[in-house]
Symmetry: C3
Subunit: 367 residues, 3 copies
Amino acid sequence: MFLKNYWYVAAFADEIAREPLARTILGEPVVFYRTEAGEPVAFEDRCCHRHAPLSLGRLVGDNLQCGYHGLTYEPSGTVVAIPGQTTVPNGGMVRKYPLVDRWRFGWIWMGDPELANPDDIPEVRFNDHPDWSYVGGYLHMDCHYMLLVDNLMDLTHETFLHAKTIGNVHVAETPLAKVQPGSKEPLKISPLQDLVDTKNSITATRWMIDIEPPPLYAKSGGFEGRNVDRWQLLHFQPPSHVWLDAGVAAAGTGAPEGDRKEGITHILYDGITPETEDSLHYFWSFPRNYNIEDKALDDLLQTGISNTFLEDKEMLEGQHALMKARPDAPRIDINADAPAVQVRRVVDRLIREQAGTPSPDMVAAAE
Amino acid sequence: MFLKNYWYVAAFADEIAREPLARTILGEPVVFYRTEAGEPVAFEDRCCHRHAPLSLGRLVGDNLQCGYHGLTYEPSGTVVAIPGQTTVPNGGMVRKYPLVDRWRFGWIWMGDPELANPDDIPEVRFNDHPDWSYVGGYLHMDCHYMLLVDNLMDLTHETFLHAKTIGNVHVAETPLAKVQPGSKEPLKISPLQDLVDTKNSITATRWMIDIEPPPLYAKSGGFEGRNVDRWQLLHFQPPSHVWLDAGVAAAGTGAPEGDRKEGITHILYDGITPETEDSLHYFWSFPRNYNIEDKALDDLLQTGISNTFLEDKEMLEGQHALMKARPDAPRIDINADAPAVQVRRVVDRLIREQAGTPSPDMVAAAE
Amino acid sequence: MFLKNYWYVAAFADEIAREPLARTILGEPVVFYRTEAGEPVAFEDRCCHRHAPLSLGRLVGDNLQCGYHGLTYEPSGTVVAIPGQTTVPNGGMVRKYPLVDRWRFGWIWMGDPELANPDDIPEVRFNDHPDWSYVGGYLHMDCHYMLLVDNLMDLTHETFLHAKTIGNVHVAETPLAKVQPGSKEPLKISPLQDLVDTKNSITATRWMIDIEPPPLYAKSGGFEGRNVDRWQLLHFQPPSHVWLDAGVAAAGTGAPEGDRKEGITHILYDGITPETEDSLHYFWSFPRNYNIEDKALDDLLQTGISNTFLEDKEMLEGQHALMKARPDAPRIDINADAPAVQVRRVVDRLIREQAGTPSPDMVAAAE
């Protein structure tokens, strides 16, 4: 079951171009392209005639012509021409999906198009900000999308899975300072603070004071040999958007109170889009606010983050396979699960609401 | 559901030789070989002892010896020797299939062997004709066999899928002149005219008068820079045999009336054999009646046709995958579907008759 | 259905080391490692927290630390540490499996651990014997484990499948001398004789007197150009252990009566361990009692046997695929099946007993 009435990242904006692009989103085949004026277009990747993949067709001006028998679709998904005849029968159309360019991504709405409001697109604003430097990437994973959300909402895994890059022992050993649904408070000193939606957000913060910097930050931020104050300020928004305000500052220079002048900040955004029940698209961006002209650092981070996420991919795919083989195997919760457990609770409630089933909370409130 | 009591192409005749050949036909594993005298043999590729694939065995004279425990089968499919014992128990046999060499192919009968009459083998006579030059080939496709029949019965797809080879805009823009079940009339000027079986055949013809020749014909027939009259005379016979009398003649020299002296003719034969419900064997031959000694032209056509059919393969496999994922997705018919729709009607009726279920027509006739 | 309360070969002993090893046994994912003191350890390869594969973790002293969130398991399978907290919740453990080093293998017990008695481990004693030289190997096969047991209990297949190595015509043409359940008698002159368990064993012997030696033995034993007396003394123990006392002696020197002074003996042991219902692990060893210092002969036998078993793998995987496609296809028995049929009878009875269903024999005895 997928949450339908939400914006999902469908592609990097520059992937949507003058050649059709095929991608499965929430189990549905979608074809993407861009009009001559640059408008992004998404509709069902299944010709209404004989179900040929429209992504094997070609663009004719602003329209997409099926590569099999030449039915021509305008950007609305409506057939406007059929070779050898002058009329289009009823049913000559495919489902069009709202698609919006923003923050270097193309955002798709797979639910009721009447409800699609571009104002609801999650803000990934530092991807496009003049004071920040952008890197980003894509990874396909053969696992359920919530496993990657779980992963990101419990960063203690960095210590074990990513010892070579961003992990060190402090993440796992430092308890979360705050895990809070529905409050802006934990993020009050973060550039992400205004994203908090008090109804469905989850935030979680961890501060590691006066510690050795992890390898990647030590190198990229020039903190080798010096201790730092390190923060991880996590923010989740349904259905599967995760931000991480992560950085370090010279120890004792006031970072926990909001002074980042001696520090460096990265804002990781994770755009997690279900492909099927057993696979996902992972779009990530990792802008930073220091050395923003340093192309070598761009490359270092791009490569480092990509390698880090490949470690996650191996683990999550192994986990998914074991869960599929024996879904009812017992499991325990640990302290570090608190944010992920709260996220699951929000998502489960929203899925029940979408399905029209009252949640336990709603039932309790009604009694 | 497959139509059983029909001849299907199982192999090129020269594939059936003195080494066992394994191929699945209509969902059944079959082993093929040839006796020392050259007789083609086909039987079940599953040893009656412990179900080892007989195709892993070896020929001993006219017999096939299982490669596992040495049971020896004569061409009738009967076990004639078991190592270490002198008798063969009841049940020591596998199912033999009628198999006949003709027209460069090996033809197999998967139904009731009592009904197998070699006189019913479809005629592909120009494959072996002294005035015609032969080229042919094989392609495996992961799609239902009727999707390839549909493909061939609607050649408007040439315009879009095969623009680089045999397509040009005229095919899609020219309506079919005639689509006719059960009549020899539309093919009356074709070398295929005597194939028409008035009960179960479908024929469809298209004439494109005074047009630019498509790239492949322009090159092979020497029509560069000249206009032509082009024809496509299609003939379908159950279960899945399709012929195409296709050619061009210098424009205005009388081709539509039957004068092909200034023209070139190809007879494409498509032997489409279901492998499983989700895959097929495609045997094609493409004899021509001009420049028949031109080996370079043979190579040009062999390569050109093969590349053309690879375009079909990609499209049909994409179409099949989409249909499997959502079989009930809505679809529309277009004018060009008329021959394919009529073919489907014939095949559906024959399948119902095979299953013993009266067709709507039969019910109506009885009322 | 697998027989649970038995020892199975899980690995070569030297595969179980200071890096976690993942292997599926009887459908269950298992992780193997060795403590600093050298004790072999096996437990469930599924973290009790979020089902990550523990085999992706790392050893910390004698413990295995999950590579995802750092839960630390001691060799008993119990969690002894969770990062960021001081207590371990109930359920903080995975299933531990008894695992014993013996005869160069690691032996695992997948059933009730209370019943695991290392004295019941099958004897593969010549693997470690100073008068014998060891070679061994591993093969994975995509087939049901009983197909490999069948294979080994009917060596007539050597004549057909292994003509190039160990087969010659005599194996298939010589009837089995004795096939006997529950009697030590057929093996009375074999080094294996004391293995016979009179309740569940099956033994079968074949003597080929005064024959040409098969190619591999002729070469390795120096019998080129001389006739030999050849023996194959087979022994099966549930669930799927097979031994073969196989060798040749100079013809007429008394081998059938027990005098092997002019002969050479190999003891093939087959450790067949189901991976899933459709795949198996095959561990084999092939010690010999002649030229035991000859490393070139070790290599010759290692390569020869490996290549021989690859021939079996191809055949058994083909057989398995055909049986899965049509499980109810008819089949016949032949004389050579007698040992395999008796083995199947024993295994079927033990499976019924395990399931608590009385066997036909038990029903008959009770009436």
